[in-house]
Symmetry: C2
Subunit: 457 residues, 2 copies
């Protein structure tokens, strides 16, 4: 009998299976489609790759300032797409190889729970000690009039197409829309972004939100907020869309509407067979990734709203679930949940924003250091970049850090580690980061919060 | 009477003066030339700027892989140089503004110590409570036959020239030579590097050294090791150089020989007037930046061999010296001394290498994670990149971390913080870094050291 059966071979399921096997468990993993899940096949990896290309276009454009000029950049999407597909194939192969090397049994098929201590793959029921549900999320149907028209696509469709749309409306709540919009804009398409919310990155601090908005606007990417598609219909040359937003009402003609809304798919997992509710937006778990049913864990997109659909959140959960299933006592660290956006400049945030920290009852201090005052930031003209540190006043414990600028997705690692280690502002302020780097601004932001910045005016 | 007089307005002196003033000291700073010192005027900043340009050339070249091709890159050095000079002017202005805003008195002139509790500027003697020596380092004369020829230059001369040399021999022990060589190579010059030592980055771990060597070689930059210039003489078209090295003997004709060797200039500082020795290679200080003489501190290049000439080492020392001079009890953290190299790929190292850790008597464990197995690393083809973590076995305390790859200079910040906070391998291994980033490899390297890597084959 298997000790652990993982249902879903994506960013959460794979590390869960490997970790359980390391702890000398008999482990199987069930996957109905491609190993690597959304992230590797249709998410972080292909879009990350596009953002790499997008960053190079940004670098070429910056090059003029330092004496490097090119007449014309030819942009060949099929070449990019081919490399992307090859990389994904290679990574997918790597995943199955690693699973096999760790003696994880691979089961191709559609898995679900079949009552306490049992799972079912395509009609065959098998017993097991623990189940880790890692089935991810699925597409929600567009909910606007005309949402079922042919030109309304999701990001899978975008990736499958051989060429990029010429003019496209990106609509939804996913921060991904900003990455895709910037890529499309730089690759010669004409993107328009609209979100039903007040911001497309509502969880970021106000400082970060307004700076990103400015950069994108300067680049020609407008974001319509509090937007609603009143209707979409076929028109000459594509789709005619009636768009109402805070910015006014307008009718736009586009080739495509790219709609991204996802949620955990609770139905079809056999949750009711073990007494769990399958009607929620997502499956509730505790910090140990335990569901309400004994021996059943759940991780990743299945366990949180779209704003938590990050692959590192899945993989951390996977390792925690595997360790608990194998008898250890592990927990997620809710304080280090991190958001990232691979636009140029990148955006990254960990922990509490100033507003959230106040709301949580802390006596809050905030410090900031703009990259426009940082030597390396000046070299790369990172004028809209900034790092903001949030702490509580009494002990100076760091509660959050928020970045916009080059390399934010890597630099946030320092703040994650600071929060993980319960570092104080004093400790951050006296950490000697190398010169000339943007990291120096993290120490300076901490000094700013302590009222003793050195290099800021 | 001044509480603190800082002699030298460079990367160490400026933060020293500001920090002392923040602690409500009456402070003066003495500078004979340009505020900002070597780093800002003739070091990290201009060379950092060149490395930014060099990185863009690298990015353009990589672009082909993702469908971005350009016919030709025109390289206009005067444009780069103009921006560089403007940035330096701007930063220099920023330094004096910040000093004034902090009520630091600025004294232009050549300062030295004039006995206990006294300093002298251009012949005028004034009393003060504490002195912080921050005069940096100076050029050593080339010690090879022909070293006094016109074509033998240092990096100041390179920066002052309006155009780049066509063919140049870079000779010495400074890792900077590698940055400059890569820049020159990418900007159309023909560099040849030679070092008297076994390696030009002898302090880096073996893994890092061999990988950097390979990348540079693939790019066409050869490094001659254990090299000696047997003689240099004027020849048609420049200098004829007899070069002996591990790789053999040869005669090369070059436009210029770029020679970088620097040491603290102990003479002329009035050290003997307070009983200190002015004959050493550098001035000995303890972790509090105290010299042997009461009330006299020294920081930066003056206090270490060339391998310690890093501006962040100076600024950390400056803050520590200022705090001690103002009655606090501060120390440098010897465990977090960091080396960085802004080549592409970047190199960064903090703490002990495996060899050093063994030599220090630790029971050592080492883990590594190559970027060739990291999803983001694959996207950017960072095949020679790697992170290596060094720890002691019993408690798993992290002792060092060594990086080669994109963004190493920023990512090393995570390791600096880990060492600063006395993090263990277990803590690093369970830190959730965002996906897809190179930072994930730091956690994976820690897991590798613990014998439980997840994603490595």
């Amino acid at each position: 009998m298997k000790d652990v059966v993982v249902i879903g071979g994506g960013a959460g399921g794979v590390p869960a299976a490997i970790r359980a096997a390391q702890l000398v468990g008999e482990v199987a993993i069930v996957e109905s489609k491609d190993f690597g899940g959304l992230c590797m096949n249709r998410g972080c990896v292909p879009f990350g790759h596009m953002m790499v290309a997008s960053g190079i276009i940004g670098a070429i454009s910056f090059g003029k300032k330092v004496g490097l000029s090119v007449k014309e950049v030819s942009k060949d999407y099929p070449i990019l797409k081919k490399r992307q597909d090859e990389l994904i194939d290679f990574m997918r192969m790597g995943v199955t190889t690693t699973l096999k090397k760790n003696n994880v049994e691979i089961i191709q098929g559609k898995g679900k729970i079949a009552g306490k201590g049992k799972f079912d793959v395509d009609g065959k029921t098998v017993s097991c000690r623990n189940i880790i549900l890692a089935t991810g999320s699925g597409w929600l149907k567009p909910d606007f009039p005309g949402g079922d028209l042919e030109g309304v696509i999701n990001s899978d469709d975008l990736l499958n197409a051989d060429e990029l749309p010429k003019k496209v409306l990106l609509f939804g709540r996913s921060p991904w829309l900003l990455e895709i919009a910037q890529f499309l804009n730089r690759f010669g398409s004409e993107p328009l972004v609209a979100t039903p919310d007040k911001s497309i990155i509502p969880e970021e601090s106000k400082t970060i939100r307004s700076r990103l908005r400015k950069v994108l606007k300067d680049e020609g990417i407008d974001i319509k907020r509090e937007a609603k598609i009143a209707g979409a219909s076929k028109a000459k040359g594509g789709l005619s869309v009636e768009l109402n937003s805070k910015e006014g009402s307008e009718t736009v003609t586009v080739d495509k509407i790219l709609y991204i809304e996802r949620a955990g798919s609770l139905k079809g997992l056999g949750l009711t067979s073990i007494g769990l509710d399958e009607n929620g937006e997502y499956l509730e778990v505790n910090d140990k990734m335990e569901t309400g049913a004994e021996g059943v864990y759940a991780i990743g997109d299945l366990t949180g709203p779209q704003s938590r659909h990050y692959s590192h959140f899945s993989s951390e959960g996977g390792i925690v679930a595997a360790e608990n299933a194998m008898g250890l006592d592990s927990s997620m660290n809710p304080k280090t949940f991190t958001r990232v956006l691979f636009t140029q400049p990148q955006v990254a945030g960990v922990g509490l924003t100033p507003k959230e920290a106040k709301k949580a009852g802390h006596d809050v201090v905030v410090g900031a250091a703009p990259y426009g005052m940082n030597p390396f930031g000046m070299l790369i003209s990172e004028n809209e970049g900034i790092v903001e540190v949030v702490a509580e006043k009494k002990y100076g414990e760091v509660l959050g850090a928020h970045f916009i600028g080059a390399g934010a997705a890597e630099m946030v690692g320092q703040a994650i580690l600071a929060i993980r280690m319960e570092a104080t502002l004093e400790e951050l302020a006296t950490t000697s980061f190398p010169h000339p780097t943007l990291s120096e601004s993290l120490a300076e932001a901490a000094r700013d919060a302590l009222g003793r910045h050195i290099y800021l005016p």
